[in-house]
Point group: C2
Chain length 129, copies 2
DNA sequence: GTAACCAGTTACCAATTGGTAAGTAATCCC
DNA sequence: GGGATTACTTACCAATTGGTAACTGGTTAC
């Protein structure tokens, strides 16, 4: 974790949200707080170690809060802070751009039957000579 | 590079712009195309290897174009494609969020003289018990 | 007594990422 | 012939990141 000094605002923002899973965790919390186990289930493929690590980082950056209930078995709740909500709003345009891009990529591969493991470079990836 | 399948649009977007330096390269190209050497100078601290790698990835993703002039000594120009410009626009709110956050962090450390290497956790990073 | 529950923690290992530094290629200029 | 210029390429090494799997702790239910 470099933690600045940052060249620009985007640099600072990417430092927080750029790590693997971090944006996805934010997305999972955008509507309501979640328990640890719920996050682990929603983010299919994440390991417990990673989830904890990322949550701790986001917590240290004041993006998510962590609320522990004195229950047995344990109950811990994660949710967005005010800064986290603002960050989520700032990410909306980027998310939309990504969706439109995914649609475009789908169209690229549509219309071809059995396009599997084609070794030739796709025309849109061609390097300008 | 995982290259999908993506969980959501933000996932796809972060896959492209999440790598180290990538957002900064985008920023450097936002107003006008740049030559390789110019980028290397502007992005202080980047190694030639990294710069090339990131540029190639952004090029393969159709975010930047690469134009080679048949000159000696060589001249290569990098600039934003249409998709790259759209991506830059989508990143503006995030950049603003980052700027406001940097200001907030500056205010945190302002007012203290010789606040250097303080081992105690800052209050805004405290973990909720 | 012991199994289940939840939210972690820990140890160990593999893969990816990033840095340094030297080399390459083509041409012009002296 | 030799140096300067520009945009890379390559080899090698260190650091960071990420994965797997086993273990912990306190309480309740059987």
């Amino acid at each position: 974790m470099p933690r600045g000094p940052y060249i620009c605002g985007l640099d600072a923002a990417m430092d927080i949200v750029g790590g693997k899973w971090k944006a996805l965790i934010l997305w999972e919390l955008k509507d309501q707080p979640r328990r640890f186990g719920q996050l682990r289930q929603s983010l299919t493929g994440i390991s417990e170690k990673m989830l904890i690590q990322r949550l701790r980082e986001l917590e240290a950056d004041e993006i998510v809060y962590r609320k522990v209930y004195a229950h047995v078995p344990p109950k811990v709740e994660y949710g967005l802070t005010e800064a986290g909500t603002a960050l989520h709003r700032a990410l909306l345009p980027l998310a939309h751009w990504g969706e439109r891009r995914m649609e475009a990529l789908d169209e690229q591969t549509a219309g071809h039957l059995t396009v599997v493991d084609d070794p030739s470079p796709s025309p849109w990836a061609a390097r300008s000579a």
